[in-house]
Structure formats: structure tokens, C-alpha cells
């Protein structure tokens, strides 16, 4: 609304994306080896474009958001690291098989968490990357974004990334000042104290059904 020219460009870009999608061409995949803020912007744009392609999110259609997150965000998420940090000191007590099962079980919850910030996407929704602060050469940093909806409400979403051998990987997410890993640490510890690591895996798997 503020910059009509930009929204026109975005509309054109969207039409372009739709055309490309129809032609089954994967174009300009997010560059995990580039600048971290550009990379996040690309991931966010691609995700929003995929959600908008179907005319936005109809209320209650969470399954579709989950599916888009799985195909467009999850490939860039190091969910094993997220699980490891959420488990904290209990991670080392788990056997390799348990660690694998735990990460696998937590994945569904992670997808739903990432999807949680995207349930109100419509054609006006825009994700804007905020100016980068801090040390751009660091290999563990945060890219801050703001998702603005058509009803004027903004949601702040920050991504914490780590540079790996295969490029940038997202491992933690902050929605409205709440960090994902920090919010799961107590719940993980609680379950493990009550029912052990297998109990936690079972509880997570139950939530996936």
C-alpha cells in the first residue's frame, strides 16, 4: 500500500512464479551458501509464494501449511541440532538409536511450530527481512524478519542459523520473543524425568498422529 510500485512488482513476480510452477521448473532455489539474510528472505518468499499459490490459507487448513513448511522450510532446518539442544544434557544419556528416534519424532512438532506463524497467510502477506545487526562473519547468527498481514498485524519471526559444510542451516526460531528450543527444554526434561527418553519419544509420536 505504501509502495504501489513494489506491490505491482510482487504481483508480477507472483504471476511469474505461478507460471514457472506450472512449467515444473524449479527456479532460483534459496542459496544456502550466500548471505544469511538473503538466504532467509529467499526461503520466506518461496514459502509465502507456495501458500499464496492456492489463494492463501483458508481458515483451519493447517494440514496444507504443514505440507508447505515440510517442502519449503524443512530442507533448510537442522532439526537434529534443534532436537539435541532441546534435550540438553539428556541427549548424551540417550543411545544413538534413541537420538535418531527422538529427532524423527520431534520433526512433526517442529513442522507444526514453524507452520504456527503462517496460519493467516493471504495474498497481502509479506515477509520483510529487517536490517542485519551484529557480526556478519559469525557462523552462528540471527536473521530477524517481520511478517505483515493484510489486517495490519505484524508478527516478528527470527531465525537462528549456523554455517555448516552444506551452507546455512536454520536451527532455532523465535516468534514474538519466544525461542523455540528454550520453550521445549523444560517440557523435554519433564517427560524424561517422568517416563524416560522412550516416554518422550512416545509422547511426541502420539502428537504426530
Amino acid at each position: 500500500m505504501r509502495f504501489p510500485a513494489i506491490s505491482l512488482l510482487q504481483r508480477l513476480a507472483l504471476v511469474g512464479l505461478l507460471g514457472l510452477g506450472a512449467a515444473q521448473v524449479v527456479h532460483a532455489a534459496p542459496d544456502a551458501n550466500g548471505a544469511p539474510d538473503k538466504f532467509v528472505q529467499q526461503v520466506a518468499d518461496e514459502t509465502l509464494a507456495a501458500l499464496k499459490a492456492g489463494g492463501g490459507v483458508k481458515s483451519g487448513d493447517v494440514a496444507r501449511v504443514n505440507q508447505v513448511v515440510t517442502t519449503h522450510i524443512l530442507p533448510y532446518v537442522d532439526f537434529e541440532k534443534t532436537t539435541r539442544l532441546s534435550a540438553g544434557r539428556y541427549w548424551r544419556q540417550a543411545t544413538p538409536a534413541q537420538q535418531k528416534a527422538l529427532a524423527e519424532a520431534f520433526r512433526g512438532t517442529l513442522v507444526r511450530t514453524y507452520a504456527g506463524a503462517l496460519t493467516r497467510v493471504d495474498n497481502q502477506t509479506v515477509s520483510k527481512t529487517l536490517p542485519f545487526r551484529g557480526d556478519a562473519k559469525a557462523d552462528d547468527l540471527v536473521v530477524r524478519t517481520q511478517i505483515s498481514q493484510s489486517n495490519g498485524q505484524n508478527t516478528s519471526v527470527d531465525y537462528r542459523l549456523e554455517k555448516t559444510s552444506s551452507g546455512w542451516k536454520i536451527y532455532d526460531l523465535n516468534v514474538e520473543n519466544i525461542w523455540l528450543i528454550q520453550n521445549y527444554r523444560n517440557q523435554f526434561a519433564q517427560q524424561i524425568n517422568q517416563n524416560g527418553i522412550d516416554g518422550l519419544i512416545n509422547a511426541l509420536n502420539q502428537r504426530n498422529q
Binding site: 540438553g88 548424551r92 557480526d135 520473543n177
Partner: protein
């Protein structure tokens, strides 16, 4: 009522010590869980259905307008708190928002300020107390209200007082005032529907999820800009032991407290020897 709930907290605490490994921030967990279940039952049976109904019968533009108008009058008290916290720029920006939205935004119906790059800076008296140096105190779930803490409970009474001068509470006509209070509650609940539905989908234990989210968010509000530059430090446990950095005085319970040696850009300066 607060005194009553505190007394009740004490009683319940004496009566049940069943919580294993209590979180140091939540010594009254047994009592809090009881109130949480009560609030949850009230919400699921009354408030949530009413709010869902409200979103069905009112078109989105009307709801947005109502929501914006409540936010707009709330900006006055938020600005006062920014001032009390010594965040002068926030106070000026929030007052600017109020004037801009009240005039060009037709009485606050349209949030023209956000559309022009000045988003809301929510603020309240509990945050002010935090900025003044009062700790969160024990976590406290208030009946009908929800997550709070001893400090924020005291803050709420301050907010109520401020509200009687700056917001709906300033309206003299009792009927109008009470109707607007009712609408405000429904509006707040309706705007939280997405958030609470998400919690239902992703929380292992909704009680701890809400508690940890609340404490994190309040902590971040008190720290303001500083908080954004201090990332949670997960390296002390779980992560593979590494010697590449010595985390400065990290504590697992309050990782967002500014660590000595962390400068404005969030990078960690080498510790002094």
C-alpha cells in the same frame, strides 16, 4: 483478590508437595496448575466459543477496526510506561502513533501508523517495574486472567489504575463502559485464537509451554533492545563440548540476562583476565 490468591497459594503449597523437581521460577506449581485447569475449563466452555462466534458473525474489517481502536487507546498508557522506563523515543513514537491513528486513522479504526512503518510498541506497568529492577518473582496463574507473576500481578493493578484515566475505564456511563469492557475481552480472546490453537497443536505440556513462553516474552519486553542482542546460550549442556568459545557466566534459567562481556552488537568480547 490478589491477596486472596496469594493466601490460597500458600495454603495449597502447604497442602500439596507433589510436584517433582520444581522449576525455581515456579515454586507454586501445584497451585498454579490448579488455577490453569480452572481457567482452561472456563475458556473452553465460555470465552473461546463466544470469541469463535464473534469471528463468525463479524466481518474481518469490522474486527480489525475494533481491535485497532482498543489498541489505539491502549497506546496512551503504553506511552506513559515507556516514559516511566526512560525509553523516551518509544514514548514519542507511541504518542505519535496515537495522534496519527486517531486523526488520519478515523478514531483509531485504521492503523495507519503501522502501515507507514511505525509498529506498535506494547507496554505495561509490569514491564515498567521490571525495568526499574524488580525481578519477576514466582510465576503465578491468576484466576480468569491467566499467566502472570508476582511482579506482573502488582503491575496489573497499576494498569487498572492507568486504564481509568486513559482508556475504557475513563468512560463515565456505566453501561457503555461495561459493554466496552466485554467487547474488549472478546476482542482480545479472538485475536489470540490462532496462538492458542497453535499451542494446542504443538505443546507437550500446555501448562509448561505457556509458562515458559510467558516468562521468555516478559523477560524480552523488560530487556527491550538489549534482549535482542543476547541470544540464548545452549552450549553449556547438550551441545558437544567444545573449546572454541568460553560462554561468559551463562545460567540456564535466565539465559537472556545480559552477560558480562557481551557488547551491543551481540558478539562476545574476550573475557578480561
Amino acid at each position: 483478590m490478589r491477596v486472596a490468591s496469594l493466601a490460597a497459594a500458600g495454603l495449597t503449597l502447604a497442602g500439596c508437595a507433589s510436584v517433582q523437581q520444581p522449576d525455581p521460577r515456579d515454586p507454586w506449581e501445584g497451585f498454579n496448575r490448579g488455577v490453569y485447569s480452572f481457567n482452561d475449563a472456563v475458556d473452553r466452555n465460555f470465552l473461546r466459543p463466544i470469541s469463535v462466534g464473534y469471528t463468525y458473525v463479524t466481518p474481518q474489517p469490522v474486527r480489525t477496526c475494533v481491535h485497532n481502536m482498543f489498541n489505539n487507546v491502549a497506546d496512551v498508557w503504553a506511552a506513559a510506561n515507556s516514559m516511566l522506563q526512560g525509553r523516551g523515543l518509544d514514548a514519542i513514537n507511541t504518542m505519535g502513533r496515537f495522534l496519527f491513528n486517531t486523526t488520519l486513522g478515523v478514531g483509531g479504526c485504521i492503523d495507519v501508523a503501522t502501515a507507514n512503518g511505525q509498529p506498535r510498541i506494547p507496554n505495561d506497568f509490569g514491564t515498567t517495574l521490571g525495568v526499574w529492577g524488580f525481578g519477576q518473582g514466582p510465576y503465578l496463574v491468576l484466576p480468569f486472567w491467566g499467566p502472570s507473576s508476582v511482579r506482573d500481578g502488582v503491575g496489573l493493578t497499576g494498569d487498572f489504575f492507568g486504564n481509568t484515566y486513559t482508556s475504557v475505564g475513563a468512560i463515565e456511563n456505566v453501561r457503555v463502559r461495561n459493554s466496552l469492557y466485554g467487547l474488549e475481552i472478546v476482542d482480545r480472546r479472538a485475536s489470540l485464537l490462532d496462538a492458542t490453537d497453535t499451542v494446542d497443536r504443538i505443546a507437550l505440556d500446555p501448562y509448561s509451554f505457556v509458562r515458559d513462553a510467558y516468562l521468555q516474552r516478559r523477560n524480552a519486553m523488560v530487556l527491550g533492545q538489549k534482549g535482542q542482542d543476547n541470544l540464548p546460550d545452549y552450549s553449556d549442556d547438550g551441545d558437544a563440548p567444545d573449546a572454541k568459545s568460553t560462554p561468559p557466566a551463562s545460567s540456564t534459567t535466565t539465559p537472556t540476562v545480559p552477560a558480562p562481556g557481551a557488547n551491543q552488537s551481540g558478539t562476545v568480547a574476550p573475557a578480561k583476565r
